[in-house]
Amino acid sequence: MDRVPILKIGDILLVSIQIDMEDQVALQLQEDLADRVVTTGCHGVIIDISGLDIVDSFVGRTLATIASISRVLDAETVVVGMRPAVAITLVELGLSLPGIRTALNVELGMALLARAKADERAGDSEWDEIDDEDAETAADAQP
């Protein structure tokens, strides 16, 4: 069975899915990522899906689960590189990927994670002020 490689870059785990995944491979990735988040102590996960020509409800659900698990483990997940045709299909399919942050490419994904981290450092006291401006940006990514 193929396995999707996970790269560690600084505080970020980068996954680039380049193959048409069997359901088992997707579930394996979900497991591997949870392990790596814990062992590396990374606070960000970027999943690049620019190589995927389709995302069906199973893959969509797996991505959402990965995001939820990572959040529990104190890591933010950003899905990047979704192709336009895939996005249009997901809208038609009725899959809105709630709770998943998205960015157009890896670079913007890293910027998004850096901002999320900066927000966190700003601390709880300032959170409320920033909330109006920045939480809106963050919320935009999760309809």
């Binding site: 990047v80 996005a87 249009i88 998205t102 913007l108 910027a111 940006t137």
Partner: protein, 277 residues
């Protein structure tokens, strides 16, 4: 009343023997019907070729236009029809060019004889079939011309422009139907990827009316863009359109809407700045 094989060969011989007279008379009539829009030399060339086509089809034993022996003739007819359709002639004018052959042929037949009459009627039918064939081709060519033009129009009318670093805009002008809305949607999303722009402005100042379907398309575009990690701002919503949107019960939800393109750009730039700081 179809052509008999022996009639076909007699007619082929007639077309050969009287070719000059026939082509002359035929060309005259066609020239008359087209009233000088094609030069006589050009028409003469066409009728000469067609006569050859008819002659060799009949000599080859064709008693029906659909037969193998008439394949060459069919190709000629469709070339003629394609040319005429592209030059802007009507379907009638194209068909009349063939009907003229019947009149020309009548002139070269020695009249009176019942056998001749039978041949003539049968040949007429053959020519009619040829004329109908050009008609079909003509319609087909025009249809594809129209489809091509519609596609070109779609491309023309949906430019996606980069307004600023990280901000692209699509100014929509004219009526949005489902097909066009789809093209706009795909084009916009692709531009977001190509330019790595996290903000898109959909300006609908030039859209006269919005119905449920169009609103749905715009909403879907916005949701798809979000899935990809980009934000859409809709600008230029005119008062009537705002009223329609509310009356139709369409939820624009938390989508940013701005009165003008300028406001939308200012909003997007502000957001980009907060992102970068």
């Amino acid at each position: 009343m179809a052509l008999e094989p022996d009639e076909a060969s007699r007619l082929a011989a007639l077309l050969e023997d009287k070719q000059e007279e026939l082509v002359g008379a035929w060309t005259d009539r066609v020239a008359q019907s087209l009233r000088g829009r094609l030069s006589r030399a050009e028409l003469q060339r066409q009728t000469t070729e067609l006569r050859k086509g008819f002659q060799s089809a009949l000599a080859g034993g064709a008693t029906d236009l659909t037969q193998e022996a008439a394949a060459e003739l069919r190709a000629q007819l469709s070339d003629l029809s394609t040319g005429r359709a592209r030059q802007g002639f009507s379907a009638t004018e194209t068909a009349v060019s063939l009907f003229a052959l019947k009149e020309a042929l009548l002139g070269v037949l020695d009249g009176g004889d019942a056998g001749n009459l039978r041949e003539y009627v049968a040949f007429s039918e053959f020519v009619d079939a040829a004329a109908l064939f050009t008609f079909d081709t003509y319609v087909h060519v025009r249809e594809s011309l129209i489809a091509d033009q519609a596609e070109q129009l779609l491309e023309l009318s949906t430019p996606v422009v980069k307004l600023w670093d990280g901000v692209v805009a699509v100014p929509l002008v004219g009526t949005l139907d489902s097909a066009r809305a789809q093209v706009v949607m795909e084009r916009l999303l692709q531009t977001l990827v190509d330019t790595g722009s996290p903000y898109a402005i959909i300006d609908i100042t030039g859209v006269p009316a919005v119905d449920t379907q169009v609103a749905q398309h715009i909403l879907k575009t916005v949701v798809a863009a979000r899935l990809m990690g980009a934000d859409c701002i809709i600008s230029g919503i005119r008062p009537q359109i705002a009223q329609t949107i509310v009356a139709l019960g369409i939820e624009f939800g938390d989508i940013a809407t701005k009165a003008s393109l300028a406001d939308a750009l200012r909003y997007a730039l502000n957001k980009t700045r907060t992102r970068e700081s």
